[in-house]
Amino acid sequence: MSDYNFAYLDEQTKRMIRRAILKGLAVPGYQVPFASREMPMPYGWGTGGVQVSAAALTLDDTLKVIDQGADDTTNAVSIRQFFEKTAGVATTEETKKASVIQTRHRIPEAELTEEQILVYQVPIPEPLRFLEPRETETRKMHALQEYGLMHVKLYEDISQHGAIATAYAYPVKVEGRYVMDPSPIPKFDNPKMEMAAIQLFGAGREQRIYAVPPYTRVVSLDFEDYPFEATKAEHPCDLCGAEDSYLDEVILDDAGCRMFVCSDTDYCRTRREAGHLGRMGEQAA
């Protein structure tokens, strides 16, 4: 433990964030404005998620941080160390052992439980922002449930590409009311958002917090004749052989060799430890 206040933030800031989280949970999918603070890391590195985690953490928690599913990337490692230092909480790389999971751009493959909290780092919380740049207008659109523009955008995808080309940050409708940006998770993860865990979303630069309580209806927008599809690379994982996990493509040389590996490093490691092997599993292990 260090000379920092528990979990870095001062108490009044945490109270302000906590009040925003409670209102967010009461109105699922609605973006609650909050007075985002300067954090000792640049915007875009998860300052929103870090502030939400700081307000939600207790001393008894075990924290896991993932970046694109991986526990060992710069962003994940530095945020994990940040909370080890400022909150003195235990940390883990195992999804099952974590009580709070902060994530950038993935939902873990393992099913989350009622005892867990998933905190998303969000860059642009407003799903309508690229269609309408004015905050005053998007706020009105949410108030009036005027989401036609979003359907036009998805329709234009179909007319241009023959399918909905949006592959990540795929818009969802929460409990039949608010259209929400699920953060840039691949649309493969969208169906997992109806989960047992509490989901909290923090956007630091954009100063918004929103939330999805457990078992809330989260529906990916689509059309009757072009239903939503959770897609992934048509390939098993080359390390663990998993056919059901989201994959990263890794270029191995300049001769066209490539491999597909689970983006969720903990899931992949757990499977390999259980004896599952993929095409290139042995040489990697």
Binding site: Q12, R15, R18, K23, L25, V27, P213, P214
Partner: protein, 194 residues
Amino acid sequence: MCQQSRNTVFTGGFSNPPVAAAQAFRAAMNAMARPGKVQEITGAAPPEGISVAAGSLLLTLCDPETGVYLAPDVDSEALRGWLAFHTGAPIVSAEQAGFALGCWQELQPLSRFRIGTAEYPDRSATLIVEMRSLNVPNAGLNGPGIKSTASMQLPEIAAFQANAALYPLGLDFFFSSGSQIAALPRSTQVTVGA
């Protein structure tokens, strides 16, 4: 102010505020995310007549930025002093309140409280309702945070059905008794009978 009440004003806060407030907030968040589910919340020792749960909620969520309304049954010099010393929260009228505390009858009429605006539904009051108990369910619940159905003890049904009909506007409720809380956000549909 006599020595006795002065003591009660200055004591009864969180013993280790950052850690205790985090613990108490976790209980409050779990309650709000899972309507009807009773949670343990402790840490505060508020003046007599106020439950530990309600006191802990106030310490966790209130500060100089949040107006608190005290219903006539809980409004006392001791509580005003305690809140002022530990949270700095101003005591305001029901119309301006971010938080309100009292028993169900004394909080009426609910129409006085802010329910938010269409563009900012979060600008609504959170009511902390003191209850005799939380463990005699008389209402069925449905909505976000509830797997199939849940039940809880409510002081009445119609008011909460009317509140849910305002969604996404409306009030959010905590119910406190002893060291227990349960919550009912505006997103929950309420039916008669557990």
